[in-house]
Structure formats: C-alpha cells, structure tokens
C-alpha cells in the first residue's frame, strides 16, 4: 500500500464533494430509469405469460440468456447501434434487470393457491379481476423481491458503463485505474466503489421499507 496515502481520502472526499454528489445522482438516476423500464415491460410480460407454458418458459429462458452475457459484452453490442453514453447504458441495464422481474412475477402469480383462485372465481370475478385484485396483491412481495434483485444487479453493472462513456460513479473507478501510480488513484477508485456500495445498501433498505408499506395487510407476516 506504500504508494498511496489513505489519510488523504477525507480531504479528497470533501474537495470533490460536488462532483461525487453529481456522479451519485447520475448513478441512481440511470438505475432508477432502467429498472422502471424493465418493470413496465417485465411485469406486463409476466402478467400476460404466467398461464401460458410455452411463452412463460420462452420469456424466462430469453431473459436468462441475456443475463448470462457478460456486461462488458452487452454494453459493447449496444455501441454500433446506439453510440456511447446514456442510451446504451439504459438499454443494457434494463435488459439485465428483466430476468429477476419476469421470473418473480410469473412465480408469484403461479404460487397463489388454486383454492383461493377458485373462491374468487366462484364469487363471480372475471379472470382479469382475479388477476388484478386477488393474484397481484398475493404475488406482490415476490415481485418486489424481483425488483430489489434487479436494482442490485443494475447498480453493480452501471459501474462498468463508465467505460462506454456512460454516467455514474464508475467514472471515478476508471479514473483511478487511468491514474495508476499517481497519488490520488486509490482515492478515486475507493470513493467510487464505496459510494456504489452505499447506494446499493440504501436501495436495499428502501425496498424493505416499501415491502412493509405496500404488502396487503391480510398477508403480512
């Protein structure tokens, strides 16, 4: 560690505070937008496909293939079509977030006990009504877990996006690498990494809160 002086990290942090806040905001923003996109698409897909075996397997398998592709490669694949910057980052992150969202929507909707569905139907509810007023509330905690995992994945992968001129704290991590050997290199990389961890943990806590607040009272543990 001799090359680097960690005692300087606090002054460094204060000195760069404005920039750190800006990059953190960008990081949060890019994650929020892409997870939102993935949620709109993924939950709709799940709602549509949960009772159609072929479509269900096909969508989960496709989302699985996307998640298996290394993030660096997926970002690279976006570049010829979408150029550099925010757009390829948003699309890549949204694609990565799909799997946990689709899978948990499908699983959540399918896990509703048949007896419950039958009583709902017996009360004269239409299939759409059963889906929206009975299945969705029961499946909600599982879907929310999917969203949480998707967000965690997106926060981590967003840091690589800096390499394709994307936004966020990854910029600091790569800056650290490009300054290898310089006094501030470790400060940059460490600040970027730690801020990303903090953001991820804050989001995790936020999701626990949302789960508490939005889970239907009847099924709260």
């Amino acid at each position: 560690m001799g090359k680097y002086d960690l005692s300087l990290i606090w002054p460094f942090f204060l000195d760069k505070l404005d920039e750190i806040i800006e990059l953190s905001t960008e990081h949060v923003l890019v994650v929020l937008i892409s997870v939102l996109l993935a949620t709109i698409f993924g939950v709709s897909l799940g709602l549509f496909a949960w009772d159609k075996p072929l479509l269900r397997s096909a969508s989960i398998a496709t989302a699985g293939v996307i998640l298996t592709i290394p993030s660096m490669a997926l970002l690279a694949l976006m570049i010829p079509t979408f150029g550099l910057g925010w757009v390829p980052t948003l699309i890549a992150l949204a694609l990565y977030s799909l799997l946990p969202i689709v899978r948990n929507t499908v699983v959540g909707l399918r896990e509703v006990p048949e007896a419950v569905m039958e009583s709902a139907r017996g009360m004269g509810m239409s299939p759409l009504r059963v889906l929206l007023s009975v299945q969705m509330p029961i499946a909600w905690p599982v879907i929310l877990t999917g969203l949480r995992v998707a967000t965690q994945l997106a926060i981590g992968i967003a840091s690589i996006a800096a390499y394709v001129a994307g936004p966020g704290l990854g910029v600091y991590i790569f800056k650290g690498l490009s300054m290898l050997g310089a006094k501030n290199a470790l400060n940059f990389a460490l600040t970027g990494t730690v801020m990303i961890i903090i953001i991820a943990l804050l989001f995790d806590a936020l999701f626990i809160l949302i789960k508490r607040l939005t889970t239907s009272r009847g099924i709260r543990g």
Binding site: S57, A61, L77, Q152, L177
Partner: protein, 262 residues
C-alpha cells in the same frame, strides 16, 4: 418447468435444475443451437464484408482470436475451480458451527459483497497489488466465492432435520452423515451456486482486460478504442457464447452429478 423465485443476486443467475423426465429434452439443445447460430451469423457477417483493413486484421485472425479464447477460458475455469475448493469446505465448516454470530457475520458480508461492483474490486486490487494475471484471478475468486458459499450453507440448512436424525439414529458418525446424507442432498443447490460463480467468472474475466490480464475483453477494448465495430462485435459475441456454453455444460454436469434418488 417449475421456476423458483429469485431471492438475491446469487440466485438470480442459475437455479437448481429441476429436470423431470428424459435427459434429452428439447430445452437441452436450445443453448448449443443459439451459440451455433450466433457464431455462424458472425462468421457470415465477417466474411461477407470482404478483406479486413490493417487495424482489423490485427484482431480478426484465427491465431489471435484462438489465443484470446484460450486465455479467457483458462482464467475463468481456473478461478471457478479455486472458488469451489475454497467456498465449499468453508460453507460446510460454517454450517457446522452453531454460533449465530458466525452466520450473521457471513450473511452481512455477503450482503455488502453483493453490492460491491466487480470493476471496483478488480481495479482496487490492481491499484494495491499491481496489475496482471494473478490479481485478476484474485478478483474473480473473491467475486465468485459468495454464490458458492451462500448456496453451500443454504443447501445444507434446507435439509429436513428428520433425515439427518434418522441417519444418526442408524448409528452413522457425524462425518458419515455429512458425506453420505447432507452433501448429496445439498449437491443441486451447491452446483447452482457454482454455475453462478462460473458465469460471474466469465463476465469478470472480460473486465480483467483493464488490468492487462488478456482475454476477450481485450478484443472488445481494441474494437472500441480503434472504432472498429466489427472487432468489437466479434469480441462481444464470442465471449457471450463462451458464457452460455460454460453455463450449459455446468448444467449438464449438474444433472449428471445429482444423486439418483433426489
């Protein structure tokens, strides 16, 4: 197919397979067909555009590409094996200990670890220990430890206590219970963790190019820096195919290794 819900990042990649029926199902051939189609399409695209220019020719030749593929697979597999050798025994030891503090600490670390970006880990390691192959392997191992460790612990924890009690009642010693009952029953979950670690390795190995550890990330970076989309696409498609194929092979191994009774 009964899919399970995703609970955390470690289980988001691969889940214990729940294959029923024959070994040779249609699903089994999906991945290889996809890989063949992708590589075939890539080759067709590359050959249809005629002679590569001088810069492209540097990367787009068989010798260079095969060398990079070799580097990439080598580093991914090596780290995945190191991960298995470290994480599975560690998981067993942790699941033996009755102490709640140990498991709380492990789970806490696992949460923070999950939130740590791979680029951050690899670049911080490079800044502290220098760039190169060994550092890259260290980063890959650190990154892959978590899913295998977590799955080993949960795999053992989810076993019906009645089964282990029955085994003890039959006079089995603790080690016999572990090797004959608990581990075989936990194998599907542990292997799912290993598959996740493998997929992680291939992905993180791509980033390892930033610290001069070679691999196919280098091809992507060359394409990016010299603005040669063909080179960039080649690197990205080939590395994706490797990830898919390794995951597929691990899936085969998972089904083959699973005890027959489970």
């Amino acid at each position: 197919m009964t899919v399970q819900a995703t609970e955390n990042v470690s289980t988001s990649y691969s889940q214990p397979s729940d294959r029923r029926g024959g070994f040779y199902t249609a699903k089994r051939f999906g991945t290889p067909l996809l890989v063949i189609a992708a590589l075939g399409g890539l080759l067709l695209f590359l050959y249809s555009r005629g002679e590569p220019d001088k810069i492209e020719a540097f990367a787009l030749n068989w010798d260079y590409m095969l060398a990079k593929i070799d580097e990439h697979i080598r580093i991914s597999l090596f780290s995945a094996i190191v991960v298995a050798l470290i994480a599975i025994p560690m998981g067993i030891v942790i699941s033996r200990s009755k102490s709640r503090i140990v498991s709380a600490v492990v789970l806490g670390l696992a949460n923070v670890g999950q939130a740590t970006p791979a680029v951050g880990v690899i670049i911080l390691l490079a800044l502290t220990f220098g760039i190169g192959w060994a550092t890259a392997v260290a980063a890959l191992v650190i990154y892959g430890l978590l899913p295998v460790l977590r799955n080993t612990i949960t795999g053992i924890a989810q076993i019906d206590p009645n089964i282990t009690e029955a085994a003890r009642g039959m006079g089995m010693r603790p080690l016999q219970v572990l090797f004959k009952i608990e581990l075989p029953l936990a194998v599907p979950v542990i292997l799912a963790g290993f598959r996740t670690a493998l997929v992680f390795s291939v992905g993180v190995a791509t980033i390892a190019t930033f610290i001069n550890a070679g691999g196919l990330g280098e091809v992507i970076v060359v394409g990016l820096k010299l603005t040669r989309p063909a080179v960039l696409l080649t690197g990205a498609i080939v590395v994706s195919c490797i990830a898919l194929l390794l995951d597929w092979l691990a899936g085969l191994a998972e089904d083959a290794l699973r005890p027959k009774g489970v």
